[in-house]
Symmetry: C2
Subunit: 169 residues, 2 copies
């Protein structure tokens, strides 16, 4: 995915670490088990017993993580039978929006852990073509290398500046 080897500083350091969206995301899903549970649910596994079997995770650990994912509105818990009551888990919009993160982690594993022989290829449902994930400049209409990425304070930083003096220049 990266063909150019340049500066390390592809994302310039700016602003307060506390206000970083990466950190906020990892505070919610920065746990290996949570991400593996989500991977399985993206792949159509929805029931506790199937998740447990696929992942080989202890029941109490799976329960606590599913509860967390429901609590933060990434999953919905929906009853599929009543006697006894049993639930399945489906992704909310917030959960589905983690798709690009899982795709990116998978692409990295494909390249660096699989000897250039990916175990699974993601394809377009309509035509079967293997998919690409790109970081693009919509103005130049070009794909961007990591070395061409910079950052500037966004509206959330401006809000934060009103609350606290931040030396970010």
């Amino acid at each position: 995915m990266i063909e150019k080897q340049e500066s390390q500083s592809s994302i310039e350091h700016r602003g307060s670490v506390d206000r970083c969206s990466i950190q906020q995301t990892l505070d919610i899903v920065g746990d290996r088990w949570l991400l593996l549970i989500l991977r399985d649910i993206f792949r159509g596994v929805r029931r506790f017993s199937q998740l447990q079997e696929n992942l080989g995770i202890a029941k109490n650990l799976l329960t606590s993580r599913l509860n967390k994912l429901v609590h933060v509105n990434i999953l919905e818990k929906i009853p599929y039978q009543t006697a006894p009551v049993r639930y399945e888990y489906t992704l909310t919009e917030k959960g589905r929006d983690l798709s690009p993160s899982l795709v990116a982690l998978m692409k990295w594993g494909d390249r660096w852990c699989s000897d250039d022989a990916p175990p699974t290829v993601l394809i377009h449902s309509e035509c079967g073509t293997p998919l690409e994930q790109t970081t693009r400049c919509p103005s130049c209409e070009e794909n961007i290398y990591p070395s061409e990425i910079r950052s500037r304070p966004g509206p959330g930083q401006a809000k934060f500046d009103n609350l606290k003096e931040v030396n970010n220049r």
Copy 2:
């Protein structure tokens, strides 16, 4: 980033969990601290003391994680002074290739944790335009929604099938 609400099964379940690239990636970088260290190094922070100050992480935890990242060839440790010897950490090609994963995690946090007011905006170094991350079909030349993603066994799965009978159909 997602405008369409459809099937949960955006990535169909296929093949052995053991052979999944997401799991292989998380086995290496599926740790909140590792990803935050990498985020800082992408932003140009290279020295132990700066990383420790930015992250507020205990020295022994930072040492063990930096050693791991060097061991797996995501970071290089380069001396920048000799008396006493001091090192800085830079990304290898394998490390730089984690950029799309960090961009994806950041975009999710921008959308879901920042009230639509991102603290930081990633821009193209050449023109200053905010960047987009997309999953694209190179054949249809279209951006793809998570619900349009399917999967098929790749060459790594075929290799694995020769070693072990896998019920993946």
